[in-house]
Amino acid sequence: MNDTFELRGGETHIEVHKFFPGAIAGATILALTLQAALPVYVPKLDFLDLPLLITIYFGLSRRNPSTGLLLGTTIGLLQDSLSGPTVPLGLYGIAKTVVGYLASSIGARLDTEHPLARFSLTVAFFVLHQAVLVLTRRLLLAQPEPWFNMHLAMAAGMNAVLAVPLFLLLDRLRRSS
């Protein structure tokens, strides 16, 4: 099996990366664990959404909408499960499914390896993730939730800043070509 192969669309050549076995599962579990543990020890880091960053990264890298949305669904449902009884199963699941699908779709069309592209896409996906969350809360849970505020804007920026080195770190999990 090739570690890397190319999608040919016209003159565009986009690589589809493969990862070491267990890399995706390990990264996901680690992200969820840190997501659950970090706010306990470092409350100021509660703005971080590591599962979202994992979803975005593997979506952009795998570049397969089906696997991207399934990965987003899995990560979202696990996050729901770890969020306690006040969060119904499916709240983060829906949001991360949408993010996983779009990230894979965009990753299949654009080169997302550049740090600036990763930063921008992370901000955009964070906002989208937040929008889907608010929409779900308002429509299904009848919970009034602000669409966006300064705290969320800063969280988007901080997550995007963190995403750039994190994605570089995760790049090491790729099988070399």
Binding site: L70, T97, Y101, L140
Partner: protein, 306 residues
Amino acid sequence: MVAIPSRHKSVALLAGVLLVQVMMLAVQIKRDSRGRLIRVWAVTAVTPFERTGAWGFGRVRAVWHHYFALRGTARENEALRIENDSLKLAISQLQSKAAEADRLGLLLHFKAINEKTTMVGARVIGASAGTASRTIEIDRGERDGVRRNQAVITPDGAVGKVIEVYRDSAQVLLLTDKDSGVGAMLVDSRIQSPVGGTGELMLTMKYVAAEDTVNVGEKIVTSGMDKIFPRDVPVGTVAEVKQSTPFKQVRVAPAAKLDRLEEVFVLLTQEPLEFQKEGEAASSAPAAPAGDSATAPQASPAAVKP
């Protein structure tokens, strides 16, 4: 089987996964007043169809009942018509009994305010066979103490006198008979003159001098001069006065309802009687409510017999 193009597979998968999660949320979310969201959605989705179905079923049933199932309706209609006739008859009988109870109530009241006067109540059981005379037949006779030339009255006024007495019945000559007469006087002017019948409903005061003043509406009572009626029994009211020579023609409307007699009193003595004024009659007469009259026992005039 139609294959889904590969580029649409991921979209279909996305829609499916999202739908599953939305349904999962709906199962978990519980609205305070309306239960779980999935139940709210299910009811909301099904209600229009249920409503449409109920409306359609109602229309079909209405059409069936109003157009096709009329066979039983004709029978039911006939039964209702018969029942309606029966109820009409029952109502008529009850109204008659109520009216009778009212009349008997008045008689009892009249009897009560004249308890010292010896009188016997009687029911009218017949009338004269022809138009040549104005008589009635009552169900009291010799055995009840009724004798010829005794006065017959109602609480409204004079009726006539007994002309024939049998063992259990008697014949009464009404004031309206041509041969009838009663000693009377005008209440205001105290002019005395006999009042007699004309063969019609109206009476006439026979011998009022042309120079005497008689006003329409003036009351006429018995004078007691005929030795049949006691004094002051109402006879009637002056209805019309025509100037004539040598006597006025005075037409009198009888006080008693001589054309609608059903119960009367036969006065066994000539002791004076007390009659109610017109204004008092309505207020002091014992009321006989319609509801009560329907269930009241059938009082007989014999009940007022002394």
